[in-house]
Symmetry: C2
Subunit: 315 residues, 2 copies
């Protein structure tokens, strides 16, 4: 592992992707998405009381890019870990992400009727069941990691559980959502506050996906530091691109209502900096992210390619 | 450990509490409650964004008997474990219990304005923050066990985390809440359905407190089986007494609205069986619970006394 490389690197250091000219990101993402969705489908069976399991499955199996579980698996494999060892944690990440979407869509929060082109959970099952389905997914995520992770020393699994808890609680995702709520309708939100929101609401869980995958593979402190910078950067870039797509893409492309931020007069990176500067910032973040992984050679190609994908995606 | 005793025992086998005539349950409960509340107070510091931490602390530190953490500690100590080893898990149990109360009180669920004589979380902080505070407490509970448990082998901690997750998810607490919601306003709820609700909504978390405390102390399968029967029985007895107190106690005594079940025409054990038969059933459950612990001698006295306390409590 690249102990001698500096912790941060200047912009513009790109990995030599010609190291593996055959790498096909779309194929990689498509195959892993399929593997993850099979595992997710098998993770929750419908039993009495059926309604809650149906509600959990409705949102968990509603599609999406499955970027979080894929990041978890890619990080584990980059450090020589086994895909199967990371799969339960990868699934747990999607359960937690789904919980956050279900609760975020509730009338008491964002009050959204559609998500990924489908009615939101509470529109189908009611607010009460949607709240409980989120709670169940969150609790089950931890149970799933603890019981389903095979061939990994228990101290590594514990570290992953601790990291995920921290990424979701008030120190992470929830903290970001709270500040986001506080900024609603305010026109004077500054870039620091916006970055706090996104680092917590979006990047914390993405980071946890990468770090937990790495922890399961036996990452050392240097690996964790590098991957943490990588993940925070792509998390922030991911959010910037999300904000840009909200302006430039159609609802059909996004599978959710487009132009919502403009209607809500929400402060976003593009509203602060303009679209062009925001795009430039996202590119810089991705370059810095990739620079962290240069020393891992060919093994880093999937994470490198995913970083690039984040700034080029259209939905 | 009592390997030779039968798994279940006939009614009426009582432990010889004269083994320790000096045991003072009130003193025991009072001292442990204080220790638990100190640990809970230290478990969450207020930092930015303050509102979410204040909301979490508001409900977590709102008093109550702290029976769940005490059961966790008592079970750990009965099997020779250290009190400090169980304390983080004991605190996590109270975090999870608090999450379930905050979410249960929401307008979308029970729509309660008061809890333990104080305004409910959403009445003070709003529905959005109350939902997020519950989510944060649930995620933090798992992080807290994973990071704060000291001097316990990691595989035992993992087992405790798995058990807690199972007790909270759709297989436990949430499942019980869903069936409870489905039975709302129905007059034809039978005893089996009522028992399903209480075994899941109330007993599952109480059982997890006892089992997780035992797991941390290195319980064997026989210990777990015995403690599981003990905990399920006292959990069910606890709920029967709760239903009776709802009829017989005042709101002032309970710290919450009394007579709610009657007003809501909710089917309860006393409404199915009458108060006297319900009391008898609770007593039988407690006797069966205590019979499980006979072989543990003096070490079982706290758990024995807590079982008795459940049927004699006035609030």
């Amino acid at each position: 592992m690249p102990q001698t490389l500096p912790q941060t690197s200047p912009l513009g250091i790109s990995p030599d992707l010609s190291l593996d000219a055959d790498f096909d990101l779309n194929k990689y993402l498509g195959e892993l998405k399929l593997e993850v969705e099979t595992a997710l489908d098998e993770s929750i069976a419908i039993t009495y009381p059926e309604k809650i399991y149906e509600s959990m499955r409705y949102s968990l199996l509603a599609g999406g890019k499955r970027l979080r579980p894929i990041l978890c698996i890619a990080a584990c494999e980059m450090l020589g870990g086994d895909r199967h060892a990371a799969m339960p944690t990868a699934c747990a990440m999607e359960m937690v992400h789904t919980m956050s979407l279900i609760h975020d869509d509730l009338p008491a929060l964002d009050n959204d009727d559609y998500r990924r082109g489908k009615l939101t959970n509470h529109k189908v099952y009611g607010d009460d069941i949607a709240i409980l389905a989120g709670d169940a997914l969150l609790a089950y995520a931890f149970e799933f990691i603890a019981t389903q992770t095979k061939n990994v020393p228990p101290d590594r699994i514990l570290k992953a559980i601790a990291h995920l808890g921290h990424a979701v609680a008030a120190t992470g995702l929830v903290g970001g959502q709270v500040v986001d709520l506080e900024c609603e309708g305010k026109a004077d939100v500054d870039a620091d506050t916006l970055t706090f929101i996104h680092i917590h609401k979006t990047a914390a869980l993405l980071e946890s996906c990468v770090i937990c995958g790495a922890l399961l593979a036996g990452a050392n402190d240097t690996d964790i530091d590098r991957l943490s910078v990588y993940a925070k950067n792509i998390g922030l870039a991911f959010q910037i691109i999300d904000d840009i797509l909200d302006i430039t893409a159609t609802s059909e492309q996004l599978g959710k209502t487009a132009g919502k931020d403009l209607v809500a007069q929400k402060v976003t990176y593009p509203s602060l900096w303009g679209i062009e500067t925001s795009q430039q910032k996202a590119l810089e973040l991705v370059e810095q992210a990739k620079a962290q992984l240069v020393g891992y050679g060919k093994l880093a190609i999937p994470l490198m390619a995913i970083a690039d994908y984040i700034t080029t995606r259209q939905s």
